[in-house]
């Protein structure tokens, strides 16, 4: 069902909107020639789109908060009697929710000042007040980093597959397998301290790699779409773990509970910020994973092969790269990284296996990788951001009663908006900055060629259906998950006789 078939051409890089224009034509960057103004450059920039995407997502989130706020609904009931009640109720609902999100994810200023007041009352001053207060204040931030740790590692795995042109949707499955394997060794096989931890991590990596490799093998050997097989493998792993947690091997003595015993202390990742925080050595592993991603995809031969296959399988094959073997390799590496994320999740924070050990990390990792454009720095930032949203969301839920599901909506919207920059610009009315003079040219072209018709409501916006072939496509196709692969649709054209264009 996926775009790619038969182990063969993967036409579009994941997360990449297809570039409507013909890359390489002289008309591609007319603005570079004429020298665009600063405003235009900012408006076309990715950062601009990212920021606006967040703004819009939070605006939608605010609307949801308003709709769901019971106090506000009563105030609306007598809106015409006292409209100010409606506005103040609405404002307080939104601002309290977002303030809670901030306090829960970055810096809890309320708790910090409470601690400071306490200490001052007891006669403290200077650093005696400042440091404990600060420590209390940044607790949410450290929690955010803790949550971000497995997310970042898993996203790195996703990024490897995305940049190699494979849609690995199997994060959940690989994470479960990695976590289950590492967790099992962690609680069932007593080993000396440091060795135990290392063995657990390696077991998680190997298990995840093998599990990911299944999808790669099926693709290489039988040409199955990795999208389908990874989705299926997700569920197989989910039920597999559910079954394992009914056996004595996994639950130990308390067979009635579907949870495993705690991982032995020798296999736990050591805490690195003091015992009152959950932040552990996994963060270092996450940073190493980021560096590994950079090295693998930008510096190593094998990464070069992966990318070559990702951007143009046919050309890679002609150049002597074994496309099938590359698919297996990509999935093994991606699965191994996601498996490592599972291991870190169990050994670092969870300590015991449960049926829902994977949570939403598997799917969140996809969105984080997309948001971070599958690059090292992007993933680091996006991972922390998503983790902040979810820790903040959890705090918001407990303190304000706004369900954490709001965060999921915001995350999904951010990714959607970022995937479609033309929509963002359209929403802020910046289409003209997009393509200066486009409107007049289009009008002129319409007059010339009456026969053409916009192809659909959506595409008409970017002028894809317009007769003006020289119209710059702009970055309607953002580099997406992988900046390198925007040219992919073109080779698809050549391989398939330019069917689409």
């Amino acid at each position: 069902m996926s775009a790619s078939i038969d182990g063969e051409v993967r036409p579009v890089a994941p997360g990449t909107a297809v570039q409507p224009g013909d890359p390489g034509t002289p008309g591609e960057t007319p603005d570079a020639v004429s020298g665009p103004g600063l405003a235009q450059r900012i408006a076309r920039g990715n950062v601009f789109v990212v920021v606006l995407a967040f703004v819009f997502a939070f605006v939608v989130g605010s609307i949801l908060i308003l709709v769901s706020d019971a106090e506000l609904r009563t105030a609306v009931g007598y809106f015409f009697a006292r409209p100010s009640d409606t506005f103040s109720a609405g404002w307080s609902a939104i601002s309290e929710a977002y303030a809670a999100m901030f306090r829960g994810s970055i810096f809890d200023y309320q708790a910090a000042s409470r601690v400071a007041d306490d200490l001052r009352e007891r006669g403290g001053s200077g650093t005696y007040v400042l440091l404990p207060a600060l420590a209390r204040g940044i607790k949410p931030l450290l929690e955010t980093l803790t949550v971000a740790t497995p997310l970042i590692i898993a996203s790195v795995g996703m990024a490897v597959s995305f940049r190699s042109g494979l849609f690995n949707i199997g994060g959940t499955g690989q994470l479960i397998v990695g976590a289950a394997a590492a967790g099992y060794v962690g609680f069932a096989v007593p080993l000396p301290p440091v060795l135990h931890l290392l063995v657990c991590l390696v077991v998680g990596i190997v298990a995840g790699g093998l599990y990911g490799g299944i999808a790669g093998f099926l693709k290489a050997r039988f040409g199955s779409s990795e999208v389908i097989s990874t989705i299926m493998l997700n569920w197989i792993a989910t039920y597999g773990l559910a079954f394992a947690l009914t056996t004595t091997a996994f639950t130990g003595s308390n067979k009635s509970q579907p949870t495993s015993p705690s991982v032995l202390s020798s296999a736990r990742l050591p805490l690195i910020a003091g015992s009152q925080f959950r932040l552990n050595l996994g963060l270092l592993i996450a940073l190493l994973a980021i560096v590994f991603l950079w090295w693998l995809m930008s510096r190593s031969t094998i990464g070069f092969r992966f990318r070559a296959v990702g951007s143009n399988p046919r050309a890679a094959e002609v150049a002597g790269i074994d496309v099938g073997r590359s698919a297996v390799g990509v999935m093994v590496v991606a699965g191994a990284l996601v498996g490592l994320a599972g291991a870190v999740h169990v050994l670092g924070t969870e300590h015991r296996l449960t049926g829902s050990i994977a949570g939403s990390i598997g799917f969140d990792a996809i969105t984080v990788a997309l948001l971070g454009r599958s690059g090292p720095i992007g993933i680091l930032l996006a991972g922390i951001l998503f983790a902040a949203l979810s820790t903040g969301g959890r705090f918001m839920e407990t303190s304000q009663g706004v369900p954490i599901d709001l965060v999921q909506v915001i995350q999904a919207l951010v990714v959607l908006f970022i995937a479609a920059p033309p929509l963002v610009r359209f929403l802020v009315g910046l289409r003209r900055i997009d393509q200066p003079g486009r409107a007049t040219r289009v009008r002129a072209a319409r007059r010339r060629a009456v026969t053409t018709e916009p192809e659909s409501a959506g595409t008409a916006d970017e002028g894809d259906g317009e007769p003006v072939a020289e119209t710059p496509p702009d970055d309607a196709g953002p580099p997406g998950a992988s900046g390198q692969h925007t040219a992919a649709p073109t080779d698809e054209d050549t391989t398939r006789g330019g069917q689409e264009r």
Partner: protein, 446 residues
């Protein structure tokens, strides 16, 4: 196949192999091998290795069925071990037949092969049932009834996939469409107090997801798999959010368990085993039959269907002859999401339960699998949905067996079954799944 294969791109090695030995297709041994292994496993596990002495009952006629003079027996007991072995051996015979034919280069094609596969499947499953229900009674009618209940949302979801993928738009967002349909049905049904209003609202609500999918996939040409995955997250988040706020604050007004009335066709509904399955259902089930039939005819016998398939196979050619590719894709995605919305309605007002958080629970992904296993054909999708639902029904039924009876199969394995079957199907065991050539490829007009 399974290989999901794109017809336009014959591969080098495959093509050569095919020309060199046309009589034996590549991997001709795969299907017979898999079937033989399954059959031998059945003989061993269900028969030889199972303890003897027990009996399995098969309930043919339930009380209340049409049964003139008691011709049709009630419970038929069979000796578990012997029956399981005999059935498994029969299945093995089918596999051997396939071996013989395939080795001779005369692998039965088309309908003959499907018939043999179905025969094998039925024998194997009966052997399995005999073993699994050791010492208990297999209530075939009840099992099929549960299967139908579980199959309807899957079938609607798979039809949604067929509609949009035949037009060239990958639809991973089935899960979200189901969820929105279920949500909309309960919300509107509760507020208006009428399940019928909910039935109307479900497709409309699911259209929201369909429109978003179309906007991003067709309009902005964002990678379609990504849009689908993200839309599922969006749908889960949004419905859970409203479930946790509005619906929880006032369940009496916003989240009441309503149920569409069951429509019973007199007399026909009293036929043993299949009567209640086919003729005592809610309007949604009848609607499903109608849509499957209508869609089959429409896709393969009408001008509209030809155009849709043309857009999915070769949009440029379609465009050249004046078919509006964008509009066709938009309308198909919207139509598909409306159909999936009906599937969502089945989850709530079709079964009489209130809305629950993430209540689609992966059904959208099983529907996706059903669509693939059904080879992008409405009838195939329906059959695959029935198959998957049967596994689920079996799991539910087996877990409610009195202790001491049955073979004690962990329910998780049966829950896994649809996914394993699909994995094998996608790896090309069953036959070729031909994906619409332009599936997932945005069309950009020149």
């Amino acid at each position: 196949m399974t290989t999901i294969e794109r017809p336009t791109a014959p591969q080098g090695p495959a093509a050569t192999a095919a020309t060199a030995r046309p009589e034996r297709p590549r991997r001709w041994w795969l299907l017979p091998t898999v079937l033989s292994v399954l059959a031998v496993l059945a003989v061993l596990v269900f028969g030889v290795l199972a303890p003897g002495g027990a009996q399995t009952g098969y309930r043919i006629a339930a009380p209340g069925d049409v049964n003139p003079g008691g011709i049709i027996p009630g419970d038929v007991p069979v000796p578990t071990r012997v029956a399981a072995i005999v059935l498994a051996l029969l299945a093995l015979a089918v596999a051997v037949l396939l071996w013989v034919r395939a080795a001779a280069g005369r692998m039965p094609g088309g309908r003959a092969r499907i018939t043999l596969l179905v025969l094998f499947g039925v024998l194997w499953v009966l052997s399995f049932l005999t073993w699994a229900y050791k010492g208990a009674v297999v209530d075939l009618g009840g099992l099929l009834q549960t299967m139908m209940l579980l199959a309807v949302p899957l079938a609607f979801g798979a039809l949604s996939g067929v509609l949009s993928e035949r037009a060239g738009v990958i639809n991973i967002a089935i899960e979200g469409q189901l969820l929105f349909g279920a949500f909309g049905a309960v919300l509107v049904g509760s507020v208006t107090g009428s399940a019928w209003a909910g039935l109307l609202a479900a497709p409309v609500m699911a259209l929201v997801i369909g429109a978003l999918l179309a906007l991003f996939a067709i309009g902005y040409q964002v990678q379609q798999i990504i849009v689908g995955v993200v839309l599922n997250v969006f749908a889960i988040g949004l419905t859970s959010f409203f479930f946790g706020t509005v619906m929880k604050q006032n369940p009496g007004l916003f989240n009441r368990p309503l149920r569409l009335p069951t429509i019973r066709i007199p007399l026909l509904a009293d036929i043993p085993i299949v009567g209640r399955v086919l003729f005592e259902q809610t309007v949604l089930v009848y609607l499903m039959w109608i849509i499957v039939a209508a869609l089959t005819v429409a896709l393969f016998r009408t001008r509209w269907g030809l155009r849709v398939r043309a857009v999915g196979e070769h949009p440029r050619a379609a465009d050249t002859v004046g078919i509006d590719v964008g509009r066709t894709r938009w309308s198909n995605v919207l139509l598909g999401s409306a159909v999936a919305g009906l599937g969502g309605a089945t989850l709530t007002i079709g079964t009489g339960v209130a809305f629950g958080e993430e209540m689609s629970a992966g059904k959208g992904y099983i529907a996706l699998a059903a669509m693939i296993l059904g080879r992008y054909h409405p009838v195939g999708a329906l059959l695959a949905a029935l198959l998957f639902a049967f596994a689920d029904a079996l799991q539910l039924n087996l877990s409610s067996l009195p202790s001491g009876t049955g073979a004690g199969i962990p329910s998780q394995f049966l829950l896994m079954l649809p996914y394993i079957v699909t994995l094998f199907a996608v790896a090309g065991v069953v036959g070729r799944v031909r994906v619409p050539a332009a599936d997932g490829v945005p069309y950009v007009k020149q």
